[in-house]
Point group: C2
């Protein structure tokens, strides 16, 4: 099924809440999502999949148990499967996520910050 | 295996040729590639996979057999598997590609513009 082109900036303008991934497009059995980030998330792991972060704006820290990874605009980082991590951002961050369909934002942790994938 | 963060702009600065995808990062069995585009490519199809284009700069036309798709900065478009297409750009375009590892740039067409995946 052919989808229409989507613009990342316009998509993010329509997203109001933080930590709520919205599906931008899909490719095969993967989703590309946009998300607005602020504050600290929860420590979690995706046991079965890597997770890609692409920062559009702002400064995002991916806390790992042994060090932090600092990301700015246009930085891309892949958290390997099985690696515990906790994103945080003192200011607002706009980011893209690329991961298999069905990947839950809180991974194995669950809890109040678990968000269903939203459509734009 | 954990990789270092990569910056999209820096990666593209190190790419000299057009139509030569370079691997930025990998996620599971997918590659994220950067590519510089200018001129017209070749008509081709990827029978077994969708192909995602994310334009960073410039104006990219994805010619399909029944219409053209026009993409500008921050536009994302997915060419469905099996759909014949031919990218072209009158000016220079910088773009990202998401696709499964092993996807060849010319798909089923082959020919002189076939490029091995390059490392940065």
């Amino acid at each position: 099924m052919s989808e229409q082109p989507r613009n990342i900036g316009e998509a993010l303008e329509s997203v109001e809440g933080f930590w709520q991934p919205h599906r931008l497009v899909s490719i095969n059995d993967y989703d590309v999502k946009v998300v607005r980030i602020h504050g600290e998330f929860v420590w979690h792991t995706h046991p079965d999949t890597d997770e890609l972060f692409l920062v559009r704006s702002g400064c995002l820290t991916i806390q790992l148990r042994d060090h932090d990874v600092e990301l700015g605009p246009e930085d891309v980082y892949v958290v390997p499967a099985g690696v515990e991590h906790c994103p945080k951002a003192e200011g607002e961050v706009e980011a893209l996520l690329f991961e298999p369909k069905g990947t839950v934002n809180t991974g194995d942790a669950g809890g109040a910050m678990t968000s269903p994938l939203r459509e734009l």
